[in-house]
Subunit: 244 residues, 2 copies
């Protein structure tokens, strides 16, 4: 005895629309139709649908379910793959929950606005990459900084400020930008970025230097430490890069 689509919907708790859709995509189709076109599901069809529902309940996509029922894929392999997918989803959720905790506490490693206040290397690097290369560095930087808390950010800012102060001192003392003492600080700058954000090549740093003087935002920000520092910083980077 066959069932109509409405009967089957009631039996399974699905909607008629869902059964239509499963018929349409060939996932579970009725064996027969009346002359009027009514779908008639036989017992085998119902059994198949039950299998579909079991796998759907496991979170599998319909396409995957179709392949599984067609025997296109080894059962163990199916389970292994699917478990891996579910575990990854759960890890993603765990990361979101962890990030939410950080956000709630105002730690805001995710709050990039703090990175726009003051001298923030992540911003400068990112824009340098936007201009001169791919976004790999930015992604690497984002990947790392995601896990930084206030201690790390404090350390980053202190180091960056110290680099700025060193250069400012050299500049005030009249040390030429091409001097080895300036070059040493520039190397320190490069190492600082490499340690906290991503591997900083001489070329990338050169781009940063150009940006410090080309962009009024950065110039103004850097020159808060000492007037003219942005220019001196750029020249020191240039000199250092040219000797490499």
């Amino acid at each position: 005895m066959a069932m109509t689509v409405g009967d089957l919907a009631k039996l399974t708790g699905l909607t008629v629309r869902t059964l239509h859709y499963y018929d349409e995509i060939g996932l579970c189709s009725p064996s027969q139709r009346t002359e009027a076109g009514y779908r008639l599901y036989a017992e085998d069809d119902v059994v198949r649908l039950q299998h579909v529902l079991v796998l759907r309940e496991l979170g599998m996509g319909l396409d995957e379910i179709g392949r599984a029922l067609a025997g296109d894929i080894d059962r163990d392999e199916l389970i292994r793959r699917h478990r891996a997918a579910l575990i990854e989803k759960r890890e993603r959720l765990d990361r979101m929950l962890a990030a939410l905790d950080h956000y709630e506490r105002g730690d805001a490693p995710m709050d990039f606005r703090t990175m726009f206040d003051g001298f923030d290397p992540a911003e400068h690097e990112a824009e340098a990459k936007a201009r001169w290369g791919t976004t790999d560095a930015y992604k690497e930087s984002a990947r790392r900084t995601k896990q930084y808390g206030p201690p790390e950010w404090d350390a980053i800012k202190r180091e960056a400020a110290a680099i700025g102060e060193q250069l400012a001192a050299l500049m005030r003392a009249g040390v030429p930008a091409a001097d080895p003492r300036a070059a040493a600080v520039i190397a320190e700058h490069r190492a600082h970025i490499t340690r906290w954000f991503y591997p900083c090549t001489v070329e990338i740093q050169r781009g940063l230097g150009e940006m410090y003087v080309a962009d009024a935002r950065f110039t103004a920000n850097i020159d808060k430490t000492a007037p003219g520092l942005a220019l001196y910083w750029r020249d020191a980077i240039r000199a250092s890069a040219d000797q490499t």
Copy 2:
């Protein structure tokens, strides 16, 4: 200094399409356009986008993010709600993983096919409900049986078989279907369903009885125990229901 959509895409790792979309839905739009129509993002726009990305990374939907940034919702409330949503998602995933483990071991509480072999009450009830009432019982039944393992299923099948044997014995002994001894077994049948699946009313049981004789599949299956048992079972149910 303003940025074009391509610059911003590189800076953030997003696609131009995504930025178009965010502009379209008003989530993050450029402050200006060139005469040619090019989007120009100012610093404030970039800051806003960074905030969008932070919240998106937490798994929030774009609509929700828009409302959050508009200050439409209290920050603590936002966090509380979102945490609850993430926790629920994780619990769902945990349930899927647990179900997958069951599936892998072949316990198959999810594999309803086993319920179609032999005399399976869940099938009969479900179809009874499909014909005479809502699917509440089916859902209740599914909810309970989801947690049954082989011990429970063995017990269910043994009990069901015993009920069938008792009725068969009465039938063979020539006991009328309306006899109190038959009624006692019918009550036992009702209790069995109630205990393992869902509250079985007299009315629902009446429907089951009708189905046993109306559907050749069930008749054939029940009559494996004893020829004519399906009819006797239905009559006993009728008699019992009429006296209630």
